[in-house]
């Protein structure tokens, strides 16, 4: 299809843009560009069709099943959008006098309290705008703790080899050296490898639990104890919190700080590049280093105020982060309630196990045991038998209107397909996906070439990822 720069014509315009509602200012001469920017000029009709056409080329949770492992693509209730659209939330400015935004402050405080309750932490900052941003912020908390104690020999962060790639990346961004430890044959942390890795140079450990293969690490209390006894702190990557919310708390597992992906676990839209929110929570002893402004109740108990933590690290994002994402997440939490939150996790685990067991006849499971909210299939045997690999199966699913599972992750399983159905899918949808995968399995044996060429019915089939990575075209060049 045509790019927006290739449609329209000079002089066309539309009435969708709002009036300017702030005083106009003159940009100083030296900052002014000498050439007018090339902006597309379109009629409302053209722009509306353009974006409708674009929407038709995507797949979202509103289009169909989206079992993308590790991403928790649950359905986002529309009531979240209603709350976020309230004028008192979306027509306010961060620099407004706090006395005029009491409701917004209360929302942030309520969200903080709810997240503390769910995760077993004592305080939260809403500033970080994504999971990896949260990891970076959490590691800065750990660094601040060691630095204040004068314990600067702690330069290493331990990360299991099954971790999300962002974990080692965040540690490196914080100036830490990453120590990768191998997983045991059961997919969990190898305690002996961990004991051998910790020492006076250990700043901390980063871990998801359940881990990236969808298993709850039964040794979690030993793991956090080993790290603590070595003088390190424990960071919980909240990517997989959807499996355990309201059932077991990272704080009780021995973690000192965590991030929670509101856009996954607490049902706010994602997958289109954001905005997300990755609030960071911590135990009391780390709260004094939190970034940004914390929301506290005023002394008279009648309102809220924004207070900088005593030894705050500064800011990791402007103001209070992506506030409207927090509004959506709090709406979700309140709608679900104390009973609904753990029920959602239980159903997420049930759905995953239902699919896992139903698929176990044809497909090899990487870890043949009860899973949590997601499971990993190992397609190596299918590749050997038929030449059809994880990519081909994923592409084949597209023709059935299903978003494929996560491919080739975690890296410790070579032909991995990682399935996370989430709790919001009814049994019929799970059954349909199970049937589709069985059909594809049979097709791999009868007509492998058909799958090598899949998808056959989508507007985009197999983009040249290699060419795109080697020679990316990231901007439009005007003739």
């Amino acid at each position: 299809m045509e790019l927006i720069f290739e449609i329209g014509s000079k002089g066309r315009h539309l009435s969708l843009l709002p009036q300017c509602d702030v005083p106009k200012v003159e940009v100083p001469e030296k900052f002014r560009r000498t050439q007018a920017p090339h902006l597309p000029e379109l009629s409302e009709n053209e722009i509306s069709r353009h974006y409708t056409k674009l929407a038709g080329r995507t797949h979202g949770v509103n289009d169909g099943f989206y079992p993308l492992g590790s991403c928790t693509m649950k359905y986002n209730p529309k009531v979240n959008e209603e709350a976020a659209a309230l004028r008192g939330f979306n027509r306010i400015h961060p620099l407004q006098d706090p006395s005029t935004v009491k409701g917004a402050l209360k929302v942030m405080k309520m969200a903080e309290d709810a997240l503390c309750e769910i995760t077993g932490m004592d305080a939260f900052t809403m500033q970080p705008s994504a999971g990896a941003h949260g990891e970076f912020t959490g590691l800065l908390l750990i660094k601040a703790y060691h630095t204040e104690r004068g314990d600067e020999a702690r330069t290493k962060i331990i990360v299991p080899d099954s971790a999300h790639g962002t974990n080692p990346a965040s540690a490196a961004m914080c100036g830490y050296q990453v120590v990768s430890i191998p997983s045991g044959p059961d997919g969990c942390v190898d305690l002996d490898a961990l004991r051998a890795a910790v020492g006076p140079d250990t700043a901390g450990l980063m871990l998801t639990n359940p881990n990236t293969v969808g298993l709850f690490d039964k040794n979690i209390l030993d793991i956090t104890k080993i790290v603590h006894e070595a003088g390190g702190l424990c960071y919980y990557d909240g990517a997989n919190l959807n499996a355990v919310m309201g059932i077991v708390r990272p704080g009780d597992m021995g973690f000192d700080c965590i991030h929670s992906n509101l856009h996954k676990t607490f049902s706010t839209p994602h997958g289109g590049g954001g905005p997300g929110a990755g609030p960071v929570g911590c135990k009391k002893f780390l709260a004094k280093y939190l970034p940004g402004l914390c929301i506290e109740e005023t002394a008279d108990g009648k309102g809220f105020e924004m207070v900088k933590a005593p030894q705050s690290m500064g800011s990791v994002k402007a103001f209070n982060g992506n506030f409207l994402v927090v509004v959506r997440a709090l709406t979700y939490i309140l709608m679900m309630g104390r009973e609904g939150i753990p029920e959602a996790s239980s159903n997420a685990v049930l759905n995953a196990n239902y699919m896992r067991v139903k698929l176990s006849d044809d497909f090899k499971m990487a870890y043949d045991t009860t899973c949590m909210h997601e499971f990993v299939m190992d397609l190596a045997p299918l590749v050997k038998e038929t030449g059809v690999n994880a990519l081909d199966v994923a592409k084949g699913m597209l023709d059935y209107g299903i978003h494929p599972p996560t491919m080739y992750f975690p890296l410790i399983v070579h032909e991995a397909l990682m399935v996370e159905p989430t709790e919001t899918e009814p049994k019929e949808v799970l059954d349909q996906c199970i049937d589709v995968l069985h059909e594809i399995y049979d097709m791999a044996h009868t007509d492998p070439d058909y799958l090598h060429g899949a998808p056959h019915d989508t507007v985009i089939g197999r983009p040249d990822e290699v060419e795109a990575a080697r020679h990316p075209i990231v901007r439009y060049v005007w003739e």
Binding site: G165, M407, Y408, L411, E465, V466, A469, R470
Partner: protein, 123 residues
């Protein structure tokens, strides 16, 4: 000039001047798939046997390239940075680094031993 191999799938060409040139094997590039980025160390860097000295990225994953020797980087193949596909096209020409002042090297395999090792890995 003698060619050796490591169990982590690097090749080493021993020069007459006691330097070695390191790259990755055909089996390694095949397993990694089409490469899209390469990170190399800098000339003058110290590298340690058994530790990563470079990494390569395919559309699937980033993988460390392990050094089979301890020594000092003398020269890097800057051409790879712009054209990582050279590694896929001709893995034995696409050298990564030249290393000197070698203080240690791991037990290395001959070509026949390496081929047998790869057959075992495939099985």
């Amino acid at each position: 000039m003698a060619l050796f191999f490591s169990k982590t799938h690097e090749w080493l060409l021993e020069g007459d001047d006691k330097t070695v040139t390191i790259g990755i094997t055909d089996f390694a590039q095949e397993e990694l798939g089409q490469l899209v980025f390469v990170n190399l160390p800098e000339a003058g860097d110290q590298i340690t046997a058994g530790e990563a000295f470079a990494d390569v990225e395919s559309v699937k994953a980033v993988s460390d390239i392990m050094s089979p020797v301890s020594g000092t980087i003398l020269e890097i193949n800057e051409e790879l940075l712009d054209a990582p596909e050279m590694i896929n096209d001709a893995p034995y020409d696409a050298w990564f680094v030249k290393v000197g002042d070698i203080t240690y090297h791991e037990d290395l395999l001959t070509e026949d031993e390496y081929n047998a090792f790869v057959e075992e890995e495939k099985a």
